[in-house]
Symmetry: C2
């Protein structure tokens, strides 16, 4: 497994990342998301009704880009495989929500489910354009 370098460890706790999945039309789809650095892994709580979720269930190759909010010259790109697991009692969604002081499930519609999505790194690029 690719590791996260010491120089960019702080970005694992940044507030926002952009997740790119690949759509059925072959276009990359990029959205901003909340995430959690959890047990050494980068994990997301995703609603099954969303396009990005359906994309990564079919095509698990994803990219997660975490930019230093104070310095856009510094960022971490993680290319990896998205592995999804159920979150039937929404325990993981609550843990991500605790990072943000928010209830992630507040916008879930009846019938929506939540998944725990772990990004298993294949390549990690730590960029600092100042160096």
């Amino acid at each position: 497994m690719a590791m996260f370098p010491d120089s960019h460890q702080d970005l694992l706790d940044a507030p926002i990342a952009s997740l790119t999945t690949i759509g059925g039309d072959g276009f990359p789809q990029s959205t901003l998301i909340w995430f959690l650095h959890d047990g050494g892994e980068l994990r997301l709580s995703l609603n099954t009704s969303r396009l990005k979720t359906r994309n990564l269930l079919r095509r698990p190759q994803v990219s997660l880009l975490i930019v230093d909010p104070a310095d856009p010259m510094r960022y971490l790109e993680v290319r990896g495989m998205a592995r999804a697991q159920p979150d039937p009692d929404r325990a993981f969604a609550q843990r991500v929500g605790a990072k943000y002081g928010a209830d992630l499930t507040a916008y879930d519609a009846p019938g929506d489910e939540r998944l725990v999505v772990t990004i298993e790194p294949v390549n990690v690029y730590a960029v600092d354009m100042h160096h």
Copy 2:
């Protein structure tokens, strides 16, 4: 052609965007880039030696994500086709550089060429999570 909505016109002049191309291994590749809003189009000056450039010459489906630097809840995602044209005298590279007060070609190696890459929008998503 998809249009850029009035609500997000200011983001067309933002300093930084993230460009996602698709690699030969099927993984999305995301990097931060400089860009220019030029004649109503979103254009990049890319060095031919870069992986992102080689990716988009082979697979022109790209995504450009422009986040409001003052408010990450507000962003513009442009999915489009990357059309590349030569920039033999680097006139376009100079124009992008003028936006940033920088010389983009300072890091070009001998033999590198520059391309003008225009993102032809297929779908534009203007997101404001406050609304």
